[in-house]
Symmetry: C2
Subunit: 196 residues, 2 copies
DNA sequence: CAACTTACTTACTAATTAGTCAGTCCTTGC
DNA sequence: GCAAGGACTGACTAATTAGTAAGTAAGTTG
């Protein structure tokens, strides 16, 4: 019961695409309402402010990520596969949908953002980095990955490089993303995947 | 003669800070005019459209970069020093001014940007990557840097990681930037600098 | 049947946006 | 002393923005 309405889901899906394509200041309620054939006020009915909408998008993304990482955080799964899965996921989003991760999409707007959006973004990023840190730590423990320094620093570097690559890809196209992914693998001593 | 007016310079400086702090859609002519005690139309007098203003900011940054890299591109200078200089420059901008590089600031707005801004951004990025590729290539030739794969891929990874780190730093503060910089050095086999 | 709730629409507001245009003051050259 | 141009101002416009308030049609529940 209280099944979330179709309209609400459509608004959320549309906001997700728009926010992650154009940034927080780059889309309007009109952009959401018009293609769905509904009115501006209908969007406000489901998400009273634009900030609420953005928070819902981020939270949605965080839960998606959580589903994909929960098993590994609980001690199951292969670290190399985890990393490759994330690279594949990022690359697909970047090259197929031309979207960024919410963190990347909101970074340039950050200082003009209301507090609750910032907090939601921080939470997403915290979880992502915690998972990536574990991937690196376990990967090295098992002798599958090679790197120097703390796993936490390596994790931050990998996440930063993939975020940054999605920026570069906007200006230079998909190969930039591929090149960075390949270099990350090489640095870790992983064999290059079939791509590239 | 035809000395650029003080006002024009002030507008440019203000636009630079605003664009790189809040993104293209995150500031207005008002934000520039008001603090300078001039009118909206005065900004339009010097830069007829917002796109022109953005292009001027990017071009300005590109020339700044060019000044700092020209000597090395002509065959002079030490690659490790070049890299360290860039890291220090990025870190200072990020942590002191809280600004991003124009490429990073414009990435989320990219698909809503007029063509000439995109082209200006591409040009800046092309030059930056060409320089970083040379830094990596010469660094390895001289036995000062250690990495596998093409210098061009390593350069893209380093630039991407530093861009991405500036995004992370917005959400997590300056240490994220430091951690990524340190890991880049470690991966290259450089000694860790005095910072961190 | 009546009271209520859900999911909207119509119609609006107040603010802000980039951009325009005619006029004005000041300097420089002749 | 006067014309020309550079550097603006004042007063606008048309569009768009997030957000609101009141009303309504279709269920749902007691």
């Amino acid at each position: 019961m209280t099944a979330p309405t179709d309209t609400r889901e459509k608004i959320l899906a549309s906001a997700d695409r728009l926010l992650r394509s154009y940034g927080f200041n780059g889309f309007s309620y009109q952009d959401i309402a018009r293609p769905l054939g509904i009115r501006n006020a209908a969007v406000h009915y489901h998400f009273s402010t634009k900030a609420d909408l953005a928070v819902a998008v981020i939270e949605n993304y965080r839960q998606l990520l959580h589903k994909r990482t929960a098993a590994f955080m609980a001690g199951h799964g292969d670290p190399v596969e985890q990393l490759e899965g994330f690279i594949a996921f990022s690359t697909a989003e970047c090259c197929t949908e031309s979207t960024m991760c919410p963190v990347g999409a909101l970074a340039s707007d950050f200082y003009s953002l209301p507090e609750d959006i910032r907090v939601a973004g921080q939470r997403l990023l915290d979880e992502l980095l915690a998972w990536m840190t574990r991937v690196c730590a376990v990967g090295r423990e098992q002798g599958r990955m090679r790197f120097e320094g703390e796993p936490t620093a390596k994790a931050e570097q990998i996440v930063a490089a993939l975020q940054g690559a999605r920026q570069l890809a906007r200006f230079r196209g998909a190969p930039a993303m591929q090149a960075v992914a390949t270099q990350i693998r090489r640095d870790l001593g992983l064999g290059p995947r079939r791509d590239e």
